[in-house]
Amino acid sequence: MASVINHTAWIPCSLLPPPADPRPVRPFNADSVNEPLTTIDEAQLVQRIAQRDRQAFSQLYDRYAGALYGTALRIVNDPDEASDILRAVFLQIWNQPGAYDPWLGRPFHWALTLTRNLAIDRLRSLKRRYRFLEEETGERDHSASEWAAGPSEFIDQKKVASIRAAVRTLPLEQRQAMEMAFFGGMTQNEIAETLNQPLGTIKARIRRGMLELRDGLKGAV
């Protein structure tokens, strides 16, 4: 069962209106030590990692590694570099589990942020630029096995299909601008310059794309 924190760090959660799909983080319970690792949520895994629980670390790796490796590979476009990045991310998770702030989102968002930052830094150090690949999230049909998430991963197969459908419905120019920012670490000005488009156009594309993606995902995640 995945958990999503819909509150921010700046205000107490009691003052916020209830989220659309409230799934609060379960507090750590000593009894959960005896619970099978495949059934406990990600936040509890991180708590166990903080207690130097090697099995919890292994379980978190099994859940996240595919998505994080795919992200790193998408950014640096080099399997060896992507492996190095993934290794660095998980070492950071093992060594600094206290850096995870539940107010800022679920552990996956934290791990994904670490991965993106490392990969984008690596990309810049290699003096390379992110290359938008339309077929990766575009119109090309991938086989079910390519998209399928394993049973131990953080999100189930039906949701993956719904998410992919929501992303595929976005117009190409919106998806391109969003990915150049998210995967390429490019600012709005750099995207506008690269695509040779006015800044206002880029802002509008990203805004529309994000809102459409958010609306399209309602009920999927």
């Binding site: 595919g66 990766e136 600012t187 958010r214």
Partner: protein
Amino acid sequence: MIDERSEAEASLYVLGALPAEEVREFERAMRADLELQLLVNELRAAADTLVVALPRRDPPPPLKQRLLESIDRQEGFAGAAAGGNQLEPPAWQSWMPWALAASFALLCLLLIALGNSLRRQATEARQQLNDQLAGQQREQNNLRTQAEQKAAAYQQQLTELQKQIVRKAEDFERQRQAVEKESENKVLIVQREKKGLEVELARKTTHNERLQQQLADAWASIHGDPFGTIRMAVLDATSDSPTRATAAGAFDLATGRGQLVVESLAPLPPDRDYQLWLFDPNLPGAPVSGGVFGVDEHGGARLQFQPAVTLQAVDKFAVSIERKGGVLAPQGKMVLASH
């Protein structure tokens, strides 16, 4: 309500595309706006799904094993380092755990007290905020009610004014139509009166002319030639006349009366009459009828006549055979004519 600019900034912020100088400003604005914070959370969750939508790429299988070995080495090194320190424990370490435990217990008590205090403060602050929110909500409702009442009153006044304007416009239109109708009636009356006066003027003018003519004739008869207005002529048979008839005619221009004496004219069938014609040089081609007549067994006749038209002059007399009762213009044979 979040405007489009804030939505765009939130999207760029979540994707990491907002410039650094704008990030600080956006975060400051976000701290003061709960709705914006919720939007950012929603967009952040949406951005994470971009990764989920990527094709699955499994990392190399040995990577996990190498990673686990790395952390095992780290933990082992830490454990070994801890074991090395136990070889020569200092003397003060015998009482150090008790001191640490006591300090920890004291610290726990302090933290519990601090936690309770903070909890109370949070509860009070929450209560105050709730009260303020409720008060603001009530005030907002009151203001909304007042605004709605005022709007309704203004709308009613506006409706009343519109009705008054419509009524005034209708009254004005009715008055305008009445004035127009009255004016038209007056114009018709004036026109009728004018036409009557013109007819009367024409009649008076004709009468005046006639009187002047009569006066002139009377004056001429008194002071001038008594026979100056009498025209006389002898009429001879024409080539179309079956007999050698003759006639004499006289016409007084002053009185408009005349006399014709005929001899030896042939008798006519019952459906025919003789008709006298007088020719006025002022009316060329339009002889004036002097009347119809028949003849006795000797072909004689005496006719006193007065044409219906006033003649200014007569220079010729003629007699034609026409259908019974006469005609407006000569159509039959001329049997007598003056020279």
